[in-house]
């Protein structure tokens, strides 16, 4: 039997997969098992595959991904909490030939930045919004987010989210799908290889839409926050499947083809 040496494997013609050049060498600061890292990767892969990295501006507001600019090897802006869609609006309008995306957490997009998000969607800005929904404020240490499920514990809902006093979890994705300005609205996940492939296709579609000047594409990625949920990564993914997906079902919500 022929054996293959390491050197053979490393030959360029044998490479079947490699890390995208659009991620820096910096070790990601995310907790092991967190979905942020995978989400970063698929966005960067899509930009690389489309060859638009030199024309893309990413905007990440605060949240665990506030340091996205350390990892994404493209031009990035760091926005105040909630305000990324406002920045993106201006960047795109002033530079219609550029590709613009925001990368927002659920606290950011569904709480403090609801107004900015809704209005960017409603105006149909020709941008991509990537929405990482982990049902919690990861960065600040696990406080309740607008997306936190009923009964779910967090540091500001220590007895579980009580709907009567704290309101209902909000489905931003269904909400923005109502607006004529959005043209593609989908909900994905990145906890299994199959889901990663689907999520990547969705991200690709979103950027293709922007290329065709179709309007706003909104890609939610349901993700775990194992630290904030106080679980191991495996437990967190299982919990996400058992609890988040029934409330936030995966799949396309609005696909406007013309």
């Amino acid at each position: 039997m022929d054996t293959i040496s390491k050197e053979d494997i490393r030959k360029p013609e044998n490479i079947v997969y490699k890390r995208t050049e659009l991620l820096t060498d910096k070790v990601m600061s995310y907790c092991p098992g967190c979905g942020h890292g995978t989400a970063h990767r698929i966005i960067m892969e899509v930009l690389e595959e489309m060859g638009i990295q030199d024309k893309t501006i990413g905007i990440a507001p605060v949240g665990c991904s506030v340091l996205a600019y350390e990892f994404m090897n493209i031009d990035m802006q760091q926005a105040a909490h909630g305000r990324a869609p406002a920045l993106a609006t201006a960047v795109k309008r002033l530079n219609p030939d550029k590709f613009v995306f925001t990368y927002q957490g659920d606290g950011d997009l569904a709480a403090i930045g609801t107004a900015e998000t809704i209005h960017a969607c409603n105006r149909g800005e020709n941008i991509v919004i990537i929405f990482i929904n982990n049902g919690i404020y990861g960065m600040t240490g696990g406080q309740m987010a607008p997306t936190t499920l009923e009964g779910m514990k967090s540091s500001t809902s220590p007895y579980g989210r009580d709907i009567k006093s704290m309101g209902n979890p909000i489905k931003m994705t269904e909400l923005v799908a109502q607006l004529p300005g959005t043209i593609y609205v989908t909900r994905q996940a990145v906890h299994t290889p199959a889901n990663v492939r689907k999520a990547k296709k969705a991200v690709r579609k979103a950027f293709e839409n922007q290329k065709l000047n179709k309007g706003l594409s909104f890609v939610e990625i349901v993700s775990n926050c194992n630290s904030g949920w106080k679980m191991t990564p495996n437990q967190a993914n299982q919990w996400m499947v058992d609890n988040m997906f029934p409330f936030y079902p995966l799949g396309d919500i609005k696909v406007n083809e013309d």
């Binding site: 600061s29 907790c31 630290s227």
Partner: protein, 184 residues
Amino acid sequence: MTEEILIAGFGGQGVLSMGKILAYSGVMGNKEVSWMPSYGPEMRGGTANVTVIISDERISSPILSSYDTAIILNQQSMDKFEASVKPGGILIYDPNGITRHPSRKDINIYSIDAADEAAKMGMTKVFNMIILGGFLKIKPVVQPEFIHKGLEKSLPARHHNMIPENETAIEKGKDIIKPVFLLN
């Protein structure tokens, strides 16, 4: 009497809670106390440290740059804090995981094999109490009865059944701490 103590190690080693028990014991002994943690994202699995001051007088600064005693539980903290012990002061460390041992000749140095001992006792959770015991042997800044009250106050009621274990660990720490270098 004013004792300015630094406890530094990894996030999961119980550094902050050990400091809290010490501080609460001080309160029970009617002392002035302060407990000042390092805080921030670096606490995620990274290093953690806390400054505890126990005094008979009003405490001026809760934040210090030099200490009477430094209790050091990992290499990073050794690198950062060995130099911060006041001349004539005390450095206590657990040699487990230490690759560069302390080398100063103007302070008293003690070592305590608390990680090993906790593993032997089958109670890795009381690691920090073994360390606390060692410290109290060298610097009895609070009386044992106040330590007991401090444990009661700082542990949630559902953990009170673990107080005896904690006290056993404190006693163990007193037994196993040993001098490495002493000023005459």
